[in-house]
Symmetry: C2
Subunit: 139 residues, 2 copies
DNA sequence: TCTTAAATTAGAATAATTCTAATTTAATCT
DNA sequence: AGATTAAATTAGAATTATTCTAATTTAAGA
């Protein structure tokens, strides 16, 4: 009875099932672990450590493969910011972040909570892709 | 008569002279090259390639050392964003950026050109360090 | 000119991520 | 169910940006 019917997990598993990706043991296990507590931010290394606390082991290569595939299929979102590591985010909506330089942890800022005005026009010939706001904080 | 009295170069050299850093041939040369065209954004590797087009060679280790020291002494500013490489910026004022994912080039957005309102309050116990806006664009 | 702390350098080390190529497995097809 | 095969998993090697090490050189002051 290990935490059945968690809506975050089920939603992510549904997206996986509707994608062309195969439903493997590793992918199912990863989704169960990553989504069990709702919105989270983590690096590949975080996931590797967390996953391998359990009896079932997953290789680091597979963790990278899965996180990247999940991102491509919008089960996760990747967040790249100051620092060398890529963060993955269970929140795939458009939103912004606090980043604490002391703890190296991200937290969400709802897109609707920030109003950006007066943005200069996009350079000629280019098109807008996204606007990312990072609010850096410290302890 | 190699481009004497360029105000950008002179300003940067002045900051260097007022700092505790020694005035070496390599540092002077770097400042002459980096500041000759006003505001620029570049990676260490960019600088390495550019510098070594001239007869006077500077090692990659020295380029990293200098760029980092310059940043510490506010001759340059570092900009870290999506992607693995650190960018250095001759504009040390607070400002924001366009980042073109196709060309991997940065361009400036004046801080005063962007109005950010409704930012949620900083998490308890933390203090604000900076707000960075990156407008991602493509060709 | 002498002294010495700081700077430069080549090359080794590191760290996050991707790649390679061998093996296993999920899903489909008799 | 058993056979087939493209996709997935994996260990370990490779890659890339950056930092470190330790030997040598140099700037700046006495
Ligand atoms: Mn969240
Ligand atoms: Mn600029
Ligand atoms: Zn988030
Ligand atoms: Zn800039």
């Amino acid at each position: 009875m290990t935490m059945k019917n968690n809506p975050h997990i089920n939603k992510a598993l549904d997206v996986l099932k509707k994608s062309p990706l195969k439903l493997t043991t590793q992918r199912t296990r990863l989704i169960e672990i990553l989504f069990k507590n709702g919105d989270q931010h983590f690096t590949a290394e975080d996931v590797y450590k967390e996953v391998n606390k359990y009896r079932y082991k997953i290789s680091l290569a597979t963790i990278y493969n899965c996180l990247n595939q999940f991102t491509k299929h919008e089960i996760l979102k990747s967040v790249r910011l100051s620092g060398d590591k890529v963060y993955f985010d269970t929140n795939t909506e458009r939103h912004h972040h606090f980043f604490c330089k002391s703890t190296e942890k991200l937290s969400d800022i709802k897109s609707s909570d920030v109003k950006i005005s007066n943005l200069p026009k996009i350079p000629r010939g280019k098109k807008l892709e996204s606007v990312e706001v990072v609010v850096n904080i410290t302890d």
